[in-house]
Amino acid sequence: MNWMKRQRLIGYVFIGPNLIGMTVFMLIPALFSFYLMFTDWVFASGQPPRFIGLDNFRMMVRDDLFAVSVKNTLLVLIPVPISIMLGFLIAVMLNNRTYFQKTLRAFFFAPYFTSGIAIAFVWMVLFQPTNGPINAFLRSVGISEPPLWFASPDTAMYAVLVMMTAGGIGYNMIIYLAALQELSSEQLEAARIDGATFGQLLRQIIFPLVSPTTLFLTITGFIGSIKGFGMIYAITQGGPANSTTVFSIFAYKKAFSFYEMGYASAVSWTMFLIILFITLIQWAGQKKWVHY
């Protein structure tokens, strides 16, 4: 065996364990669910899957709760651009010399390396309608009937949006910080010499230069939001009155509460197609605003 072959073999050995994990836990289940979406299989029913063609998709169109989950999933996309913008602005501030620069970086990034469930429970306490600090503050400033946040079908989704926006800022900030460190100081210096104000510098120099990072964060942010599950489920389980039921919670309930694996697979693949569609739009649209 020559040197080159040996190197390749070593490479395969290294990726082998990961490949096995991917095959067992991702590829095989994904292929299996692709097959299941054309069946009426109910898990643990003792009955084999029965081919029903596109019936699951017809059922989906008629399912009111599916429509609610589509609407809610579109709503959870709102925090993505907001947290990107806030992450960008904080990164710009922390990229310049400021007091407590490192402490502030750690502070903003902390939610990213903290367990999502722990963060969710912190938000649950903050938004607690009767004893939570947010409503205590609102009452102290004269609002006698503050919102019930997670506890009301009318406001639960807004509370989720606030939680998701705050959750995304730290990660976006750290990625932007890395991008800002790579910027050429000559370009910025030249702009300053030409008389650019800070606002112009930000809008016309810095933001375009980090646009590949923005594209990356937008794509991963949208994917993450559409797939979002843990934090919402930990607090509301999709309630009250299904007001926070998003795609993933809808699919989870169908699969693991009612064991309707065929239908849940159809929902999951629909979610995949929607993610793919949105990503392709972003990819195609990048020509207009991303500068490499």
């Binding site: 072959k5 095959t23 067992v24 643990a44 009612f258």
Partner: protein
């Protein structure tokens, strides 16, 4: 070309290895004398594989925390029966926990016996072929042992499990708070009296009442159970849209928003307070729940309290309602997995458990159902060392009395979909009248689907 071959070979071996991993995990009980066979084995495997020098190993799945009795139960059994060793595996009795059990059952993990706590899940397991007909065991007559109430657990007129405990849902009372307000311990009451008690007992930082999530369906369902276990009218349509449902929704709405004696429902489900701990800490005067609260009220070391605990039956909708059925009855149904290699040994264990072995579970509030069980011993153990902290008369009256008990067979899907309607009613987005109609609409839709 050669590289491609290497790649193909690598991928192929990865897949083979991964499938081997999956295959291996399917038979986790490597011991040749272990309890469960692979799925290919016949469900009607005849007993008789016990003649072996090695002890038989059985795995018993249940949802009671191991420290609340099950470990002592299996330790007692294992000491008495060195030839049949039982291991207890705990699953949490929620969606994820039941999924874990169902996955274990269909993937031939070592599950020889398991407990079902919910009729619809039990029925599903039976229909999926995951429970042996215990009628095959001629020396164990379920109804003879457990009484007629066991018939609730029949599927297609057969028993696929042995109900081992009994007990209703009832109202836990902080007797000191009742005494302070001059209120007697109720022996029968309706929702109007229930509301009145909660309003009088409410105080600064003390709720008049707390109750398990979605427990307002107890009086609603209890008013329909006599008509039909599936909560339908004689013509097969949903019975939910009736004046008693409307009244229940109205009373609870008033308790939440007018009297403010009960934490608003949606606040409770999103704040997730530990209700049993609220009760022992004196943060609520009454708690509508089940006997599982004994785990907390008996645990004076972790949850010290100074007040006496009393009990009242679950409130009917109207005090004079004669056709009311209390939620409860026989439960904790132990089934035998048809894939066990040792059905006889499993049956021997279940018989022992039901007749005497479950005694250590009494401390956690489990009341044995078998007529052969030494009930006095169970009661003594239930209150051992804490007798003085209970109003034993009221507790015994409620737990061991002759209240008509029953369990609804409402399908899980309807139950789950109705939760959203309860959320809307108790967010005041639906009136009680609209709520009752919606409950019936959802139920009728699922009845129609299941009939198709």
């Amino acid at each position: 070309m050669k590289n491609r071959k290497w790649l193909a070979a690598g991928v192929a071996w990865s897949v083979v290895a991964s499938l081997m991993l999956v295959g291996c995990s399917g038979n986790g009980n490597g011991n040749g004398n272990g309890g469960t066979e692979g799925p290919a084995s016949s469900p009607s495997a005849k007993p008789g594989a016990t003649a072996n020098a090695d002890p038989i190993k059985l795995t018993f799945w249940g949802a009671v925390p191991v420290e609340n009795g099950p470990q002592t139960v299996v330790d007692n059994w294992n000491k008495e029966n060195p030839d049949i060793q039982v291991e207890y595996v705990r699953f949490v009795n929620d969606e994820a926990g039941n999924l874990k059990l169902d996955t274990a059952l269909v993937s031939s993990q070592p599950v020889d016996m398991y407990v079902s706590y919910d009729y619809s899940l039990y029925e599903k397991r039976v229909k999926a072929g995951n429970a042996l007909d215990v009628g095959e065991f001629t020396d164990f007559g379920v109804e003879e042992k457990m009484g007629e109430g066991a018939a609730l657990w029949k599927v297609d007129d057969k028993y696929y499990g042995v109900p081992t405990s009994k007990g209703p849902s009832f109202v836990w009372l902080n007797k000191d708070m009742l005494d302070a307000k001059g209120l007697p311990v109720p022996t029968e009451w309706g929702l109007d009296e229930f509301r009145e008690y909660a309003a009088k007992l409410k105080d600064d930082n003390v709720w008049g009442l707390a109750q398990s999530d979605y427990y307002f369906n107890v009086p609603i369902n209890g008013s329909m159970l006599k008509k039909s276990l599936t909560l339908t009218n004689p013509d097969g349509t949903s019975a939910f849209d009736n004046p008693l449902t409307v009244k229940t929704l109205q009373v609870y709405t008033d308790m939440m928003f007018t009297d403010k004696s009960l934490m608003p429902h949606t606040e409770q489900i999103t704040s997730k307070p530990a209700l049993d701990q609220m009760f022992v800490k004196g943060e609520t005067a009454m708690l509508f729940s089940t006997n599982q609260v004994f785990r907390t009220t008996n645990n004076m070391a972790e949850y010290p309290r100074t007040f006496k605990v009393a009990a009242a039956p679950a409130p009917r909708v109207n005090k004079d309602q004669s056709d009311y059925i209390n939620a409860g009855g026989l439960g904790d149904v132990i089934s035998i997995n048809p894939r066990t290699k040792h059905p006889e040994a499993a049956q021997k264990f279940i018989k022992w458990y039901a007749d005497s072995g479950m005694l250590p579970m009494a401390a956690g509030g489990r009341v044995p159902a078998s007529k052969d069980f030494p009930v006095d011993e169970a009661v003594a153990l239930m209150f051992k060392g804490v007798e003085d902290t209970y109003d034993l008369d009221s507790i015994k009256r409620v737990m061991f009395g002759d209240l008509p008990l029953g369990l609804s067979r409402l399908d899980r899907k309807t139950g789950s979909e109705q939760q959203a309607i309860y959320d809307n009613v108790f967010s005041r987005k639906l009136t009680p009248e609209e709520g009752a109609k919606e409950l019936a609409r959802v139920h009728n839709a699922n009845l129609k689907t299941s009939s198709q």
